[in-house]
């Protein structure tokens, strides 16, 4: 079955609104990473957050390992935030990250 499930599958916001993205995973993992995939397809790492809370810029990730879930909060969204946000875990602790299907975010001006 799916090892990484992300919700919602898509999200539409007005510029300035906040976004809350969810990631649930089916196995304990020492690695949890959030990535951004641009509409053109390139992938960029946003945060590595296997547990606790981490901040970078307008992004905040909170991972509760024992509950096998992580969230990504985007504050004051901008049109350039539009794209797909992917959560990835390493289920076998073998440095082989598996991705969820992603949340497609659209931020309208």
């Amino acid at each position: 079955g799916q090892q990484v499930q992300q919700s919602p599958s898509s999200l539409v916001l007005q510029e300035g609104e906040n976004a809350e993205l969810q990631c649930n995973f089916s196995s304990t993992a020492t690695q949890l990473q959030w990535f951004y995939q641009s509409p053109g397809g390139s992938l960029v790492s946003l945060l590595s957050n296997p547990s606790g809370t981490k901040h970078t810029g307008r992004l905040t990730s909170t991972t509760v390992t024992k509950e096998r879930r992580s969230s990504l909060h985007i504050s004051s969204s901008q049109t350039t935030d539009s794209g797909t946000y992917l959560c990835a875990i390493d289920p076998n602790n073998n440095n082989a990250p598996r991705f969820g299907a992603g949340t497609k975010l659209t931020v309208k001006p």
Binding site: G41, V44, S45, A96, R98
Partner: protein, 113 residues
């Protein structure tokens, strides 16, 4: 900053032919990865590679697939023979160590006709 380079960005090949996808990872990185993404679908793990060996491969890594990094140069994914369902974007990635998020290339779009 450091980049993972994948050239060319698009390859077109006839079904049944062999294709080699090339990846130029970051020079001091030790871990290498290939992922496959069919248009509009999920990013799927294929294989990772460390110290000259495959560490883990997924069910998508068919017998027709092979990877190598001869003499520390390009990290390659070879498909022989190709099938129509191999059409996808193939992303290469590399990382310095097992705790670092992989750095991805821009991908090579493979079209099998």
């Amino acid at each position: 900053g450091p980049k993972v380079l994948q050239i060319p960005s698009h390859q077109i090949i006839d079904m049944g032919q062999m294709v080699t996808l090339n990846c130029d990872p970051v020079s001091n990185h030790l871990y290498f990865y290939w992922y496959k993404q069919i248009l509009g679908q999920q990013m799927e793990f294929l294989v990772n590679f460390y110290n000259g060996k495959v560490m883990e491969k997924s069910k998508l890594f068919k017998d027709q697939f092979s990877v190598e990094r001869p003499d520390g140069s390009y990290f390659t994914l070879k498909i022989q023979p190709t099938a129509l369902e191999d059409s996808a974007v193939y992303f290469c990635a590399s990382s310095l160590d097992s705790n670092q998020a992989p750095l991805f290339g821009e991908g090579t779009r493979l079209s099998v006709l």
